[in-house]
Amino acid sequence: MTYSIIADALVKRYAQTTALNGIDLNVRTGAVFGLLGPNGAGKTTAVRILATLLTPDSGRATVDGLDVVSQAHQVREIIALTGQYASVDETLTGTENLYLIGRLTGQSRAAAKSRARELLNQFGLGDVAGRAVKTYSGGMRRRLDVAASLVTRPRVLYLDEPTTGLDPRSRNQMWDVVRGLTDTGVTVLLTTQYLDEADQLASEIAVVDHGSVIASGTPEDLKARTGAQTLTVRAADPAHLPIVRTVVGSLTRTAPEVRGTTLTTPVTDPDITPLVVRALDEAGVRLAELTLRGSTLDEVFLSLTGHRSQTHQETLV
């Protein structure tokens, strides 16, 4: 097994904050690797270092064996970056954007034109190729952005939060785009705030918090470790809360979290639900709510770190 991206103890500090606190990454060649974490976890900083836009304060990183600092130019020849904000020129047309990148990287006029046409068609942008990008929808822009990254036929592609701010339909289209990329053999490093996105697309995930990797593995590994699902229970009578807590806690072998009269806990085995229902029924507890659903990123965080992600707390306040 070979690795395309290797990051070793990357540290990046700013005046007030430590963006990266010794991050290690190993991304297999040809894989889609998900870097999962809340806002401000250091995902973008990591990507910017790997894309040669930033230099780390310490640690080192290589892409296909090339050092991102001392061999930055060679790294740029094999990577492409799709930034968090559509990194295309809004005033130009889709075709012109791709043509410009082709020409800048040494393609002939004819080659740049045909590559632009090919990519625009591939990404379902053939009809709007001649329109200025500022008239595109959010989803179209993001697809153009990915297309722009592929002009140079990169071996490694960074996608920084490719679906943030997109509606569900555009998000699904984007997911199809990313799935299609793996067929071309390109290695993809994808950052996301959404657990289901990482789950859908990535064969391997690293969870980042406060500039460090706090867990990594396949989506299945992580789910097994953190509880893929969340059980929510609310008794009809608030006085029954202590009983509910004891019953659920002993069956799931966790310490359930209580908010108001509602109790939540991560669950790894979905068969636990009928057991909980039966045990509570036997204890004479009438339920107002009992649901089992996929864990949110926040809940994964809670079970991995014991604290809620920073941004979530801020939005609650």
């Binding site: 040669t52 740029r76 809004e90 140079t152």
Partner: protein, 262 residues
């Protein structure tokens, strides 16, 4: 760090800069109103100054036209450097620069591309001003076409040196609105406290002292000499010393800020 600069040969780097300036000029194709912005504005200034103020300031509008046309050429080119800065700041803000910086191209190409494109716009505006001026009755002096060409060269060299200062501002502010405010607050008084529009003789002593040293005065004076009559050698040398000083101070600072940026 040296290995990466060696990788792009100078001809390649120049080709990349030219392609990026092509981008800036294609933007005009999509936003024709921009042509108005850099064509109408200089003409408007020329017409207003000559026909509204001209008679009062210069005796007759014709005499004043001869005086003010070179001044307006300089003023307009200086104001155009603001476009360079706001354009760069927009690219930074929108993330387009990240795209460019992650490509295997010369580090300075995005900067150079923008500057070259704006020099083209300035050259266009100078030609336009000379054309409209001649319709209004402006006649070149003893140096004729050669003098006009030398004016192009002088004004472009000098505004290029000023561009570096605005590039620095763009890199530090990275916000087009802030850049515009800054540019306006500095460039507007700088231009008006010079001999570009009126002779400095009636200004208070302290202002005269400043405006005699003001580079805008010197560039306008040289252009006046080249296009009409008047001293050339001394103001030209002084203008070029200013240009060299601006470039020496601000170009390295701007490039450094550019490299560090984001």
């Amino acid at each position: 760090m040296t290995t990466m600069t060696v990788r792009v040969s100078p001809p390649q780097a120049i080709a990349q800069s030219v392609k990026l300036s092509w981008r800036t000029l294609v933007q005009i194709k999509h936003n024709p109103a921009e042509v108005l912005d850099f064509s109408v504005q200089p003409i408007m200034f020329l017409l207003l100054f000559v026909y509204v103020f001209g008679g009062a300031l210069g005796g007759t509008t014709q005499q004043y036209l001869t005086y003010v046309l070179p001044g307006i050429i300089v003023q307009n080119s200086l104001f155009t450097t603001m476009n360079t800065a706001t354009g760069l700041a927009t690219d930074l803000e929108k993330g387009f620069f990240d795209r460019l910086r992650s490509l295997p191209i010369a580090r300075f190409a995005p900067l150079a591309g923008r500057i070259v494109a704006d020099l083209v716009k300035q050259a266009w505006a100078i030609a336009l001003l000379l054309a409209i001026g001649s319709i209004m009755g402006f006649r070149t002096g003893p140096h004729g076409a050669l003098g006009a060409l030398a004016t192009f060269a002088l004004v472009l060299v000098c505004t290029l040196s000023v561009s570096w200062a605005l590039v620095l501002v763009a890199m530090l502010a990275a916000n087009p609105e802030k850049v515009q405010i800054f540019g306006f607050v500095v460039l507007f008084p700088l231009t008006f406290t010079s001999g570009a529009f009126v002779p400095t003789g009636t200004m208070p002593g302290w202002l005269q002292a400043w405006s005699k040293a003001n580079p805008v005065t010197l560039i306008a004076q040289t252009s006046r000499g080249l296009l009409g009559t008047g001293p050339i050698a001394r103001p030209a040398v002084e203008s070029l010393i200013y240009a060299a000083a601006f470039t020496l101070v601000f170009a390295p600072l701007a490039v450094r800020a550019f490299k560090r940026r984001v």
